[in-house]
Symmetry: D2
Subunit: 357 residues, 4 copies
Amino acid sequence: MSTYGDKIKLTVFGESHGDGIGCVLDNIPAGICIDMDKVLTQMARRAPGKDKTSTPRLEKDFPIVKSGILDGVTTGAPISCFIENTNTRSGDYSNLLDKPRPGHADYTAYIKYDGKNDIRGGGHFSGRLTAPIVFAGAVARQILEQKGIKIAAHIASIGGVSDERFNPVDIPDELIERLNTETFALIDKDKEAAMRDVIEKARMDLDSVGGVVECAVTGVPVGIGGPLFDGIEGKISQAVFGIPAVKGVEFGSGFACAEARGSENNDSFVFEDGKVKTATNNCGGILGGISDGMPIIFRAAFKPTPSIAKEQKTVNLTTGENTTLSVKGRHDPCIVPRAVSVVEAVAALAVLDMVTL
Amino acid sequence: MSTYGDKIKLTVFGESHGDGIGCVLDNIPAGICIDMDKVLTQMARRAPGKDKTSTPRLEKDFPIVKSGILDGVTTGAPISCFIENTNTRSGDYSNLLDKPRPGHADYTAYIKYDGKNDIRGGGHFSGRLTAPIVFAGAVARQILEQKGIKIAAHIASIGGVSDERFNPVDIPDELIERLNTETFALIDKDKEAAMRDVIEKARMDLDSVGGVVECAVTGVPVGIGGPLFDGIEGKISQAVFGIPAVKGVEFGSGFACAEARGSENNDSFVFEDGKVKTATNNCGGILGGISDGMPIIFRAAFKPTPSIAKEQKTVNLTTGENTTLSVKGRHDPCIVPRAVSVVEAVAALAVLDMVTL
Amino acid sequence: MSTYGDKIKLTVFGESHGDGIGCVLDNIPAGICIDMDKVLTQMARRAPGKDKTSTPRLEKDFPIVKSGILDGVTTGAPISCFIENTNTRSGDYSNLLDKPRPGHADYTAYIKYDGKNDIRGGGHFSGRLTAPIVFAGAVARQILEQKGIKIAAHIASIGGVSDERFNPVDIPDELIERLNTETFALIDKDKEAAMRDVIEKARMDLDSVGGVVECAVTGVPVGIGGPLFDGIEGKISQAVFGIPAVKGVEFGSGFACAEARGSENNDSFVFEDGKVKTATNNCGGILGGISDGMPIIFRAAFKPTPSIAKEQKTVNLTTGENTTLSVKGRHDPCIVPRAVSVVEAVAALAVLDMVTL
Amino acid sequence: MSTYGDKIKLTVFGESHGDGIGCVLDNIPAGICIDMDKVLTQMARRAPGKDKTSTPRLEKDFPIVKSGILDGVTTGAPISCFIENTNTRSGDYSNLLDKPRPGHADYTAYIKYDGKNDIRGGGHFSGRLTAPIVFAGAVARQILEQKGIKIAAHIASIGGVSDERFNPVDIPDELIERLNTETFALIDKDKEAAMRDVIEKARMDLDSVGGVVECAVTGVPVGIGGPLFDGIEGKISQAVFGIPAVKGVEFGSGFACAEARGSENNDSFVFEDGKVKTATNNCGGILGGISDGMPIIFRAAFKPTPSIAKEQKTVNLTTGENTTLSVKGRHDPCIVPRAVSVVEAVAALAVLDMVTL
């Protein structure tokens, strides 16, 4: 199912080269003011065509709200949003019918859907489907903000070039606000040149490059989440792995904790201004699946864009022979900068689902 | 909810020092022969008290099937299983009521449940709750085996000492069978001494150590899973993060893919014996959230056991003062060896949920 | 949630006087041919404005498929459908803001949504929301037909005038096909005049009238459904009570069984042409929540249209005074004839959910 | 799935003649005091063997709480309960293996489970499975009582002999309290003799008889429930149809509304003591799927006990021949008196699921 959430419910629909794409976001309370400019800001951060790091395909990506919001205020009915597909060049994909692109869902979808899925542009598997997710996330985060919960993500690394990490025990609001508007979101902006260089080199080589996005959620009250399969890690990871190209998710110190000792990795409790805090935050704000009041911190690993112009080996499903393929079309050499707002969006949806009563 | 699954449904209940623990596994088809000896083998792998790496608490951990299996064959009714708690020493936990243990759910559960949760032994948050999960997984894997799907995990690393990794394109049945019966499961058994040494050193230092478990699932047909929030990664990660102490999950090349280029990370398709295969398996057997017929490979990072005898800083929730704590009781200096069968169990449950019609 | 189904998932969105309404139907297999003419036939049966029994509001009710169907064949992606609202006269509703209409959701929605719901035309509570349900049901029944499962409903009674009932052990295909195309569906067409007379009299009295719809599903294989909360009755009733104005649902002999003895009400098993059948069908084709291979039969009671021009007592929520109200606008004196196709639609969705693997 | 609920989750397990039966009730808040005597009172009302109207099978039906309640207070962990089967006489069922009992799930379960289900005593389909449901309902209603929500049911009719109906606009607490403790619950106790007479006559004729249970829920705040598939009617009906033998459910005036005019059936709004009330309650306290603050009223039709000693026609599944059967064993000639507490229990679970945040 292209559906996420228990208490809120997001349903995503559409195919990359069909009429359009969209989503339905259900069980949002009535009476919430939605600032559509803020929604558009988030969608613009994800939208392609901003610079050489992303696909030159231009989409207005304008979300038309069909229901659930009246005069800027939620009505309590499901919020539905539709985004037209206006700039499709399906011809680019004609040679893909026989030759599945390595790293893409072409082959697996061909088998699952018995060859009947819409292959153009990846169909329902296209990264373009993250546009309605960003719409829904932009609505969700406005509700969260009214509860004092804020979300920001940045590019933690691209092709080996790393940004600073969040200070996990202190994430200032000004940093969050700055990151929330950037299209190449970095804590240390001095790293931008080196990162863009890595991307440009990959592009010149007809290749692509992966990266990591780090995300923080502040202001989550203590006691959200639950034990076992109800934990925050499971809830967020299910949302984050819903983003195409994510292959790893870690919380707090993550994989590094596997090499640490308990005395290093445990976060001491301390009273600070009469409140219980932790001196460090290796647990990423989550103990026993439940929020401890510190920032929730996680990182998601994105694989390099699988669409590359470089020649690759593949098979011809019709002739049954091994062959080669060079993926034409307009593709990002690195999707990580645009993915930042998508990670924020799914984090917002996951957290809203958990704090919604 | 302490519940997992859509098509099958696992419900886990119990508290570490109450009457007992157990589970209900629903929607298992009728007529499946369940070999209870195989179930007990898996539970024994998880059970404590085998050697110095684990807690000396001895539990028979004998699963009493209350319903759903008659004369060794499933009846189609929910399978329920109960495991008595026989060896509890609640006195060890009396000083924890005020002082939350760092790295544990004591504080977060205290807030969530308003101080009314059963704190003894971690209550419903205890690692002991993984016993019924292993029971359910052991049932699940027997059903999967009849479909030709096999699962094995091993200790990928402990405290920085690494085992070999699975060869992701070729995992022999003999290796799977060997790993399935071991209590300290390694591909390269020569690494056992060094790993045990790391654990023993931590124990002598009144400390603990973390590690990584790698898991492979072979024989999954092409076309299982789905796009977006229905992908295999999301499904498996939700199950794996349901295991206490897991802080990271990655598939295929995982976080390493973030530093790779597309031309390196894409897995070429090749015809082999008339079948479509991939030459490498950086995607971990999953493309677009859907199985590609190659082994599904993932790794889970476990944090070091938070219960350590070494003195730690914490707070006294009653007096509101900072204080220190040394965790008494019987605890594993490293849970990773015992966690191997738990990872296999949740993988079996996740895969069964996806292949069940 | 405005969502139905476990294995398939229908999400309905929209408000009566907003931009439009629609639905998303998820998890429909790829490769199913959808005859759009048949879909339009079903939608036309529900559409208003056909004669004096229904509201004169004219809506083209044309479903625009945005995704999931390509060249008349399902792609496996969620099927989304949008229906524009073209003929809204919101002015008719201006006096309703203060005075909740008796029998409507005005008051309960006002409290639930804190006065922020779109009140125009009933908003998300409008009977108009059944249009996308009929669309989805029309898709569902085409899939069912390919499995040999057929669905038909008829007006069992209106205002005390009754049609014949289905012969519960023998429902010929010709009857099903005839009923499937009628806009005033009756087994005994001679009853039409008397029923129309009852409706017309109510209309002349500025009043409305209720009725019962009976529905049959043939060709369901033995063994669908399950015990307790998984039974067919629960599954279908949840769908049928999702139709506005339904206040009762009964299966087989229904409420009449409460006055019968076991020896009368039990359906004897008999071998007929080598197959197990029942001599009677008081159980409505369902034993222990599971289909027995006989037609599934149920009836749904519809209350009279609450919108009546006759003066009624109500309250003024602003002034806190008792007052009166005469509902203006365009309303059906009897919704039962149009509801027939809606009942068929939800039955199709419920049965498809149960037979989908 | 033998599971009910969205926000709370009830899982029922067990088979009539296995080790035992039980349930898990998840997501109950911590800190609720549970009066176990009140729980036992409800279970005693359902238990068999009280008099000639019910099966002479004696079961202690004592619920052993395994987890989730500590010192009489909920801990927030799943509440699990186990009830031993102590008085099974499986020999009585030996002749049923070949000959499905009319009106029972024998045949449909045989096909669904491929003959592998536990047929003894109806297995998982036994009415005995309602014992853990009553346990769970008894816990649920104690939580509801703390919110001012009360539930009572009575025998509305047995075999054509009717009790008074609830006054739908005024249900005094004293009536609720009286009904809550009775084993033959009637508003007008003078009807008891005539009802018992009907049952006794059926018993003497080796036959059985059906009936109707009416249930009221008072104190539900305005605004609970939702539109379309989220309505109270759908939620409650799914729970009530989960009780074996229920074949019809109606709310408020129910099927009678089909013969009424809108002006008769609409419930006028009136201000009373500054509160909005309805002068009548034909809608059963539900408008647009949402509670209106008046008592929620519904009725459930129970078919006559299918197990009758009288000879019935059936088939021999082994020989493929028509044959006859007289059902031996210990069976109620009328289950309706015992069903009253089961109806209250499922109503409590449904309402708790809706009011739980």
